[in-house]
Protein backbone atom coordinates (compact mmCIF):
# COMPACT_ATOMS: atom_id res chain seq x y z
CA UNK A 1 0.00 0.00 0.00
CA UNK A 2 1.12 3.55 -0.70
CA UNK A 3 1.60 5.95 2.20
CA UNK A 4 1.31 9.68 2.72
CA UNK A 5 3.48 11.62 5.18
CA UNK A 6 1.52 14.35 6.87
CA UNK A 7 3.41 17.37 8.22
CA UNK A 8 2.87 18.47 11.79
CA UNK A 9 0.80 21.44 10.66
CA UNK A 10 -1.91 18.95 9.74
CA UNK A 11 -1.36 16.24 12.35
CA UNK A 12 -3.87 17.92 14.63
CA UNK A 13 -6.48 16.58 12.24
CA UNK A 14 -5.11 13.04 11.97
CA UNK A 15 -5.11 12.22 15.67
CA UNK A 16 -1.36 12.84 15.69
CA UNK A 17 -0.55 10.29 12.98
CA UNK A 18 2.37 11.29 10.77
CA UNK A 19 2.13 8.55 8.13
CA UNK A 20 -1.22 7.37 6.79
CA UNK A 21 -2.06 4.55 4.39
CA UNK A 22 -3.23 5.75 1.01
CA UNK A 23 -5.97 3.74 -0.63
CA UNK A 24 -6.79 4.27 -4.30
CA UNK A 25 -5.50 3.73 -7.81
CA UNK A 26 -5.15 7.44 -8.62
CA UNK A 27 -4.11 10.32 -6.44
CA UNK A 28 -7.57 11.89 -6.72
CA UNK A 29 -9.22 8.69 -5.56
CA UNK A 30 -6.69 8.27 -2.75
CA UNK A 31 -7.29 11.83 -1.55
CA UNK A 32 -11.07 11.32 -1.67
CA UNK A 33 -10.66 8.21 0.47
CA UNK A 34 -8.35 10.09 2.81
CA UNK A 35 -11.01 12.79 3.19
CA UNK A 36 -13.54 10.12 4.18
CA UNK A 37 -11.18 8.54 6.71
CA UNK A 38 -10.04 11.89 8.11
CA UNK A 39 -12.92 14.32 7.66
CA UNK A 40 -11.28 16.93 9.90
CA UNK A 41 -8.15 16.90 7.74
CA UNK A 42 -9.94 17.27 4.42
CA UNK A 43 -10.84 21.00 4.54
CA UNK A 44 -7.24 21.84 5.38
CA UNK A 45 -5.96 20.09 2.26
CA UNK A 46 -8.63 20.69 -0.36
CA UNK A 47 -11.72 22.65 -1.24
CA UNK A 48 -15.20 21.16 -1.44
CA UNK A 49 -14.63 20.17 -5.06
CA UNK A 50 -11.63 18.12 -3.97
CA UNK A 51 -8.99 20.42 -5.46
CA UNK A 52 -5.88 20.83 -3.33
CA UNK A 53 -5.35 24.24 -1.77
CA UNK A 54 -2.71 26.26 -3.60
CA UNK A 55 -0.42 26.25 -0.55
CA UNK A 56 -0.33 22.46 -0.22
CA UNK A 57 2.14 20.60 -2.41
CA UNK A 58 2.42 16.90 -3.09
CA UNK A 59 5.67 15.10 -3.78
CA UNK A 60 6.08 11.48 -4.77
CA UNK A 61 9.46 9.89 -4.27
CA UNK A 62 10.98 13.34 -4.01
CA UNK A 63 9.40 14.82 -7.13
CA UNK A 64 6.55 17.32 -7.09
CA UNK A 65 3.43 16.13 -8.86
CA UNK A 66 2.33 18.82 -11.30
CA UNK A 67 -0.84 20.45 -10.00
CA UNK A 68 -2.66 20.28 -13.32
CA UNK A 69 -2.67 16.51 -13.63
CA UNK A 70 -2.31 15.49 -10.01
CA UNK A 71 -5.69 13.81 -10.00
CA UNK A 72 -4.83 11.48 -12.86
CA UNK A 73 -1.54 10.34 -11.41
CA UNK A 74 -1.55 6.61 -10.78
CA UNK A 75 -0.63 5.48 -7.28
CA UNK A 76 1.22 2.21 -6.81
CA UNK A 77 1.84 0.12 -3.77
CA UNK A 78 5.03 1.31 -2.07
CA UNK A 79 4.71 4.88 -3.30
CA UNK A 80 5.65 7.40 -0.64
CA UNK A 81 3.73 10.64 -0.93
CA UNK A 82 4.85 13.67 1.08
CA UNK A 83 2.64 16.68 1.75
CA UNK A 84 4.60 19.93 1.90
CA UNK A 85 2.98 23.12 3.13
CA UNK A 86 4.62 26.52 3.53
CA UNK A 87 5.61 27.07 7.15
CA UNK A 88 6.35 30.40 8.74
CA UNK A 89 8.31 30.03 11.96
CA UNK A 90 11.81 31.14 12.65
Amino acid sequence: MATIKVPQVFQLYTGGSAVLPLDGSTLAEALRNLAVSYPQLAPHLMNRAGALHHYVHIFRDGVELPRADQGEVAISSGDEIILVPGIAGG
Binding site: K5, P7, Q8, V9, L12, Y13, A18, Q40, H44, H53, H54, Y55, H57, F59, G62, V63, E64, I82, V84, P85, G86, I87, A88, G89, G90
Partner: protein
Protein backbone atom coordinates in the same frame (compact mmCIF):
# COMPACT_ATOMS: atom_id res chain seq x y z
CA UNK B 1 39.32 37.33 -8.10
CA UNK B 2 41.61 39.21 -5.76
CA UNK B 3 41.10 38.00 -2.21
CA UNK B 4 42.26 39.58 1.04
CA UNK B 5 45.27 37.94 2.65
CA UNK B 6 44.94 36.28 6.03
CA UNK B 7 46.93 37.69 8.93
CA UNK B 8 48.92 35.35 11.21
CA UNK B 9 46.19 35.88 13.83
CA UNK B 10 43.54 34.79 11.35
CA UNK B 11 45.60 31.79 10.27
CA UNK B 12 45.81 30.66 13.90
CA UNK B 13 42.10 31.31 14.54
CA UNK B 14 40.82 29.51 11.43
CA UNK B 15 43.32 26.65 11.57
CA UNK B 16 40.64 23.94 11.60
CA UNK B 17 39.14 25.34 8.41
CA UNK B 18 42.56 25.70 6.80
CA UNK B 19 43.20 22.03 7.50
CA UNK B 20 40.19 21.08 5.38
CA UNK B 21 41.44 20.61 1.82
CA UNK B 22 38.01 21.72 0.53
CA UNK B 23 38.36 25.07 2.32
CA UNK B 24 42.05 25.79 2.77
CA UNK B 25 43.59 29.27 2.52
CA UNK B 26 41.60 30.26 -0.53
CA UNK B 27 38.27 29.23 1.00
CA UNK B 28 39.03 31.10 4.20
CA UNK B 29 40.00 34.17 2.19
CA UNK B 30 36.66 33.93 0.39
CA UNK B 31 34.91 33.84 3.74
CA UNK B 32 36.86 36.92 4.82
CA UNK B 33 35.82 38.75 1.64
CA UNK B 34 32.16 37.76 1.96
CA UNK B 35 29.25 39.73 3.35
CA UNK B 36 26.03 38.17 4.64
CA UNK B 37 22.82 39.85 5.74
CA UNK B 38 20.78 37.87 8.26
CA UNK B 39 17.18 39.08 8.44
CA UNK B 40 15.74 38.11 11.80
CA UNK B 41 17.88 37.55 14.89
CA UNK B 42 15.66 34.99 16.64
CA UNK B 43 15.68 31.20 16.74
CA UNK B 44 17.16 30.69 13.27
CA UNK B 45 19.20 33.89 13.29
CA UNK B 46 21.01 32.87 16.49
CA UNK B 47 22.95 29.86 15.19
CA UNK B 48 23.33 31.39 11.73
CA UNK B 49 24.99 34.50 13.15
CA UNK B 50 27.11 32.65 15.70
CA UNK B 51 28.49 30.11 13.25
CA UNK B 52 29.09 32.57 10.43
CA UNK B 53 30.89 34.92 12.82
CA UNK B 54 32.97 32.07 14.19
CA UNK B 55 33.72 30.93 10.64
CA UNK B 56 35.18 34.31 9.77
CA UNK B 57 32.62 35.74 7.34
CA UNK B 58 34.08 39.21 6.90
CA UNK B 59 30.95 41.28 7.19
CA UNK B 60 27.71 40.28 8.88
CA UNK B 61 24.56 42.37 9.14
CA UNK B 62 21.76 41.46 11.55
CA UNK B 63 18.33 42.99 11.10
CA UNK B 64 15.67 42.79 13.80
CA UNK B 65 13.41 45.42 15.31
CA UNK B 66 12.22 43.26 18.19
CA UNK B 67 13.35 43.21 21.81
CA UNK B 68 14.52 40.20 23.80
CA UNK B 69 11.69 38.58 25.76
CA UNK B 70 11.80 35.86 28.38
CA UNK B 71 10.03 33.35 26.09
CA UNK B 72 12.85 33.80 23.53
CA UNK B 73 15.49 32.28 25.80
CA UNK B 74 14.14 28.74 25.29
CA UNK B 75 15.74 28.69 21.82
CA UNK B 76 17.39 32.02 20.91
CA UNK B 77 20.84 31.17 22.20
CA UNK B 78 22.35 34.49 21.21
CA UNK B 79 20.78 36.06 24.28
CA UNK B 80 21.08 35.82 28.03
CA UNK B 81 18.89 37.02 30.89
CA UNK B 82 20.77 40.30 31.09
CA UNK B 83 19.65 41.09 27.52
CA UNK B 84 15.91 41.10 28.35
CA UNK B 85 14.06 44.09 26.88
CA UNK B 86 17.09 45.22 24.85
CA UNK B 87 16.89 45.37 21.03
CA UNK B 88 17.83 41.99 19.62
CA UNK B 89 19.91 43.34 16.75
CA UNK B 90 21.99 45.42 19.16
CA UNK B 91 22.62 42.56 21.61
CA UNK B 92 23.18 40.03 18.83
CA UNK B 93 25.79 42.29 17.24
CA UNK B 94 27.54 42.67 20.60
CA UNK B 95 27.51 38.94 21.17
CA UNK B 96 28.95 37.91 17.83
CA UNK B 97 31.50 40.75 17.89
CA UNK B 98 32.67 39.30 21.19
CA UNK B 99 33.00 35.91 19.47
CA UNK B 100 35.05 37.35 16.64
CA UNK B 101 36.50 40.85 16.80
CA UNK B 102 38.23 40.40 13.44
CA UNK B 103 35.01 40.70 11.46
CA UNK B 104 32.71 43.65 10.81
CA UNK B 105 29.28 43.35 12.41
CA UNK B 106 26.30 45.65 12.01
CA UNK B 107 23.20 45.42 14.15
CA UNK B 108 20.27 47.06 12.37
CA UNK B 109 17.30 47.82 14.63
CA UNK B 110 14.67 48.26 11.93
CA UNK B 111 11.71 46.34 10.63
CA UNK B 112 12.88 44.97 7.29
CA UNK B 113 10.27 46.01 4.71
CA UNK B 114 9.88 46.88 1.07
CA UNK B 115 10.76 50.54 1.63
CA UNK B 116 14.09 49.95 3.39
CA UNK B 117 15.11 46.50 2.09
CA UNK B 118 17.22 47.84 -0.80
CA UNK B 119 19.04 50.30 1.46
CA UNK B 120 19.68 47.87 4.31
CA UNK B 121 20.79 45.03 2.05
CA UNK B 122 23.05 47.19 -0.10
CA UNK B 123 26.55 45.77 -0.31
CA UNK B 124 25.68 42.34 1.09
CA UNK B 125 26.38 39.33 -1.13
CA UNK B 126 24.00 36.81 0.43
CA UNK B 127 20.59 37.18 2.08
CA UNK B 128 19.80 34.72 4.86
CA UNK B 129 16.38 33.99 6.28
CA UNK B 130 15.99 34.20 10.03
CA UNK B 131 12.46 35.56 9.91
CA UNK B 132 9.34 34.30 11.62
CA UNK B 133 6.74 35.37 9.10
CA UNK B 134 5.66 34.88 5.49
CA UNK B 135 5.60 38.53 4.32
CA UNK B 136 9.33 38.92 5.03
CA UNK B 137 10.07 35.60 3.32
CA UNK B 138 8.39 36.75 0.11
CA UNK B 139 10.15 40.10 0.43
CA UNK B 140 13.55 38.42 0.84
CA UNK B 141 12.89 36.13 -2.09
CA UNK B 142 11.83 38.91 -4.43
CA UNK B 143 14.70 41.13 -3.34
CA UNK B 144 17.12 38.27 -3.95
CA UNK B 145 15.76 37.49 -7.42
CA UNK B 146 15.50 41.13 -8.50
CA UNK B 147 19.06 41.90 -7.34
CA UNK B 148 20.59 38.57 -8.41
CA UNK B 149 21.66 37.45 -4.96
CA UNK B 150 21.17 34.07 -3.32
CA UNK B 151 18.50 33.67 -0.63
CA UNK B 152 19.30 31.00 1.96
CA UNK B 153 15.91 29.90 3.23
CA UNK B 154 14.98 28.23 6.50
CA UNK B 155 11.68 27.85 8.29
CA UNK B 156 10.42 25.90 11.28
CA UNK B 157 7.22 24.60 12.84
CA UNK B 158 6.98 22.60 16.08
CA UNK B 159 9.46 19.76 15.37
CA UNK B 160 9.85 20.26 11.60
CA UNK B 161 12.02 22.46 9.47
CA UNK B 162 12.69 23.30 5.83
CA UNK B 163 15.96 24.46 4.25
CA UNK B 164 16.86 25.50 0.72
CA UNK B 165 18.82 28.00 -1.35
CA UNK B 166 16.72 30.04 -3.72
CA UNK B 167 17.51 32.57 -6.40
CA UNK B 168 20.74 31.23 -7.88
CA UNK B 169 21.03 31.85 -11.62
CA UNK B 170 18.87 29.37 -13.53
CA UNK B 171 17.60 27.84 -10.30
CA UNK B 172 14.16 28.06 -8.66
CA UNK B 173 13.10 30.72 -6.20
CA UNK B 174 10.77 30.53 -3.20
CA UNK B 175 7.83 31.57 -5.37
CA UNK B 176 8.50 28.69 -7.78
CA UNK B 177 7.62 26.44 -4.83
CA UNK B 178 5.11 28.63 -3.02
CA UNK B 179 3.69 31.10 -5.58
CA UNK B 180 1.20 32.56 -3.11
CA UNK B 181 0.88 32.58 0.68
CA UNK B 182 -1.80 30.61 2.47
CA UNK B 183 -4.75 32.61 3.77
CA UNK B 184 -4.13 34.26 7.15
CA UNK B 185 -4.53 31.78 9.98
CA UNK B 186 -4.34 28.68 7.74
CA UNK B 187 -0.78 27.93 8.85
CA UNK B 188 -0.10 28.68 12.52
CA UNK B 189 3.10 30.33 13.68
CA UNK B 190 5.56 29.08 16.33
CA UNK B 191 4.08 31.69 18.66
CA UNK B 192 0.73 29.94 18.44
CA UNK B 193 1.79 26.33 17.99
CA UNK B 194 5.08 26.06 19.86
CA UNK B 195 8.50 24.97 18.68
CA UNK B 196 11.09 22.56 20.07
CA UNK B 197 13.88 24.81 21.31
CA UNK B 198 16.71 22.94 19.63
CA UNK B 199 14.97 22.82 16.22
CA UNK B 200 16.02 26.32 15.07
CA UNK B 201 19.51 25.37 16.23
CA UNK B 202 19.51 22.45 13.78
CA UNK B 203 17.86 24.26 10.88
CA UNK B 204 19.84 27.49 11.38
CA UNK B 205 23.06 25.49 11.52
CA UNK B 206 22.13 23.84 8.21
CA UNK B 207 21.54 27.30 6.74
CA UNK B 208 24.95 28.44 8.03
CA UNK B 209 26.55 25.35 6.46
CA UNK B 210 24.91 26.18 3.11
CA UNK B 211 26.14 29.79 3.34
CA UNK B 212 29.71 28.61 3.97
CA UNK B 213 29.51 26.12 1.07
CA UNK B 214 28.05 28.81 -1.15
CA UNK B 215 30.83 31.27 -0.34
CA UNK B 216 33.66 28.77 -0.60
CA UNK B 217 32.20 27.01 -3.64
CA UNK B 218 32.35 23.53 -2.19
CA UNK B 219 29.98 20.59 -1.98
CA UNK B 220 26.53 20.16 -3.38
CA UNK B 221 24.21 23.03 -2.56
CA UNK B 222 20.57 22.73 -1.53
CA UNK B 223 19.57 24.65 -4.63
CA UNK B 224 16.73 23.15 -6.65
CA UNK B 225 16.04 21.02 -3.60
CA UNK B 226 14.10 21.42 -0.39
CA UNK B 227 15.30 19.63 2.72
CA UNK B 228 12.48 18.58 5.05
CA UNK B 229 13.62 17.77 8.56
CA UNK B 230 11.57 16.07 11.26
CA UNK B 231 13.16 16.07 14.70
CA UNK B 232 10.53 13.76 16.19
CA UNK B 233 11.43 10.93 13.82
CA UNK B 234 14.95 12.31 13.34
CA UNK B 235 14.32 11.94 9.65
CA UNK B 236 15.32 14.13 6.72
CA UNK B 237 13.81 14.01 3.24
CA UNK B 238 15.02 15.97 0.26
CA UNK B 239 12.57 16.79 -2.50
CA UNK B 240 13.27 18.38 -5.83
CA UNK B 241 12.08 21.92 -6.56
CA UNK B 242 11.79 22.94 -10.20
CA UNK B 243 12.17 26.38 -11.68
CA UNK B 244 8.75 27.39 -13.01
CA UNK B 245 8.33 29.31 -16.25
CA UNK B 246 5.13 30.68 -14.75
CA UNK B 247 6.87 32.10 -11.67
CA UNK B 248 5.77 35.73 -11.23
CA UNK B 249 9.23 36.89 -10.23
CA UNK B 250 11.79 34.60 -11.91
CA UNK B 251 9.68 33.05 -14.70
CA UNK B 252 9.84 33.74 -18.41
CA UNK B 253 7.29 36.56 -18.22
CA UNK B 254 7.65 37.98 -14.73
CA UNK B 255 4.96 40.31 -13.45
CA UNK B 256 6.92 41.46 -10.41
CA UNK B 257 9.62 44.00 -11.15
CA UNK B 258 9.69 45.96 -7.92
CA UNK B 259 9.16 45.09 -4.26
CA UNK B 260 5.55 45.05 -3.10
CA UNK B 261 3.57 45.66 0.08
CA UNK B 262 4.02 42.13 1.40
CA UNK B 263 1.99 42.55 4.56
CA UNK B 264 -1.07 43.60 2.58
CA UNK B 265 -0.53 40.83 0.04
CA UNK B 266 -0.12 38.11 2.67
CA UNK B 267 -3.00 39.54 4.69
CA UNK B 268 -0.95 39.55 7.88
CA UNK B 269 1.03 42.15 9.73
CA UNK B 270 4.63 41.56 10.77
CA UNK B 271 5.04 41.66 14.52
CA UNK B 272 1.53 40.53 15.23
CA UNK B 273 1.29 36.82 15.73
CA UNK B 274 -1.72 36.49 13.52
CA UNK B 275 -2.96 39.83 12.29
CA UNK B 276 -6.41 38.44 11.74
CA UNK B 277 -8.82 41.06 10.51
CA UNK B 278 -11.59 42.17 12.86
CA UNK B 279 -14.80 40.13 12.59
CA UNK B 280 -18.36 40.54 13.84
CA UNK B 281 -17.64 37.75 16.34
CA UNK B 282 -14.94 39.65 18.25
CA UNK B 283 -15.31 40.45 21.92
CA UNK B 284 -12.51 42.05 23.97
CA UNK B 285 -11.51 40.72 27.40
CA UNK B 286 -12.92 43.83 29.08
CA UNK B 287 -16.25 43.53 27.24
CA UNK B 288 -16.46 39.82 28.00
CA UNK B 289 -15.95 40.54 31.71
CA UNK B 290 -18.83 43.05 31.60
CA UNK B 291 -21.00 40.61 29.69
CA UNK B 292 -20.32 37.80 32.15
CA UNK B 293 -21.06 40.07 35.12
CA UNK B 294 -24.35 41.12 33.51
CA UNK B 295 -25.39 37.75 32.15
CA UNK B 296 -24.38 34.59 34.05
CA UNK B 297 -25.78 32.47 31.23
CA UNK B 298 -22.79 33.19 29.00
CA UNK B 299 -21.20 29.89 28.01
CA UNK B 300 -17.41 29.94 27.76
CA UNK B 301 -16.19 27.45 25.17
CA UNK B 302 -12.53 26.41 25.32
CA UNK B 303 -11.49 25.21 21.83
CA UNK B 304 -7.87 24.46 22.71
CA UNK B 305 -6.26 21.05 23.04
CA UNK B 306 -6.40 19.07 26.29
CA UNK B 307 -2.73 19.70 27.16
CA UNK B 308 -3.31 23.44 27.04
CA UNK B 309 -6.03 23.21 29.68
CA UNK B 310 -3.38 21.85 32.03
CA UNK B 311 -1.56 25.19 31.65
CA UNK B 312 -4.53 27.48 32.16
CA UNK B 313 -8.32 27.57 31.80
CA UNK B 314 -11.23 29.90 32.46
CA UNK B 315 -13.38 28.74 35.33
CA UNK B 316 -16.59 26.99 34.30
CA UNK B 317 -15.66 26.71 30.63
CA UNK B 318 -16.83 23.86 28.42
CA UNK B 319 -14.06 22.12 26.50
CA UNK B 320 -14.37 21.06 22.87
CA UNK B 321 -11.14 21.16 20.82
CA UNK B 322 -11.65 23.02 17.55
CA UNK B 323 -11.12 19.94 15.35
CA UNK B 324 -14.07 18.23 17.12
CA UNK B 325 -16.35 21.25 17.27
CA UNK B 326 -18.62 20.51 14.35
CA UNK B 327 -19.07 16.86 15.34
CA UNK B 328 -20.01 17.87 18.88
CA UNK B 329 -21.98 21.06 18.16
CA UNK B 330 -25.26 19.40 19.23
CA UNK B 331 -23.98 19.40 22.83
CA UNK B 332 -24.02 23.22 22.82
CA UNK B 333 -27.12 25.29 23.69
CA UNK B 334 -28.75 27.58 21.14
CA UNK B 335 -30.43 29.76 23.78
CA UNK B 336 -27.29 31.05 25.50
CA UNK B 337 -24.54 33.39 24.32
CA UNK B 338 -21.41 31.39 23.50
CA UNK B 339 -17.95 32.92 23.70
CA UNK B 340 -15.18 30.71 22.37
CA UNK B 341 -11.62 31.17 23.52
CA UNK B 342 -8.21 29.68 22.76
CA UNK B 343 -4.64 30.72 23.50
CA UNK B 344 -4.66 33.98 21.60
CA UNK B 345 -7.70 34.21 19.41
CA UNK B 346 -7.02 32.41 16.14
CA UNK B 347 -8.75 29.09 16.71
CA UNK B 348 -11.58 30.75 18.62
CA UNK B 349 -12.28 33.10 15.74
CA UNK B 350 -12.66 30.10 13.48
CA UNK B 351 -14.87 28.44 16.11
CA UNK B 352 -17.19 31.49 16.24
CA UNK B 353 -17.36 31.54 12.45
CA UNK B 354 -18.20 27.84 12.29
CA UNK B 355 -20.85 28.07 15.01
CA UNK B 356 -22.47 31.10 13.40
CA UNK B 357 -22.54 29.30 10.05
CA UNK B 358 -24.12 26.31 11.82
CA UNK B 359 -26.99 28.49 13.06
CA UNK B 360 -25.88 29.60 16.52
CA UNK B 361 -27.36 33.09 16.85
CA UNK B 362 -24.92 34.48 19.41
CA UNK B 363 -21.49 32.94 18.98
CA UNK B 364 -18.49 35.15 19.60
CA UNK B 365 -14.82 34.75 20.45
CA UNK B 366 -12.38 36.27 22.90
CA UNK B 367 -9.93 38.49 21.00
CA UNK B 368 -6.37 37.73 22.09
CA UNK B 369 -7.49 34.55 23.84
CA UNK B 370 -6.87 33.50 27.41
CA UNK B 371 -3.49 35.23 27.33
CA UNK B 372 -5.22 38.59 26.71
CA UNK B 373 -7.73 37.74 29.45
CA UNK B 374 -4.79 37.14 31.82
CA UNK B 375 -3.26 40.44 30.84
CA UNK B 376 -6.40 42.58 30.98
CA UNK B 377 -8.71 40.91 33.49
CA UNK B 378 -7.16 38.18 35.63
CA UNK B 379 -3.38 38.40 36.22
CA UNK B 380 -3.45 35.21 38.31
CA UNK B 381 -3.77 33.19 35.08
CA UNK B 382 -0.35 32.25 33.64
CA UNK B 383 0.50 33.49 30.16
CA UNK B 384 2.03 30.90 27.84
Amino acid sequence: MSLPALTPEEIARYSRHLLLPQVGMRGQQKLKAASVLIVGAGGLGSPIAMYLAAAGVGRIGLVDYDRVEISNLQRQVLYSETDLQFPKAEKAAERISATNSLIRVEGIVEQFNSTNAARISQGYDILVDGTDNLPTRYLLNDLAVLTHRPYVYGSIFRFEGQVSIFGLAGQPCYRCLFPEPPPPGAIPSCASAGVMGVLPGIIGSMQAAEVIKLITGIGELLSGKLLLFDALDMRADTVRVSKKDSCPVCGTKPSIHILQDYEAWCGSRIGEDFGLPATPYDISPEDLKQLMDANPAVLLLDVREEFERQISALSGSVHIPLPELMERQNTLPHDRPIVAYCRNGVRSQEAARLLTAAGFADARHLVGGINAWAEKVDPTIPVY
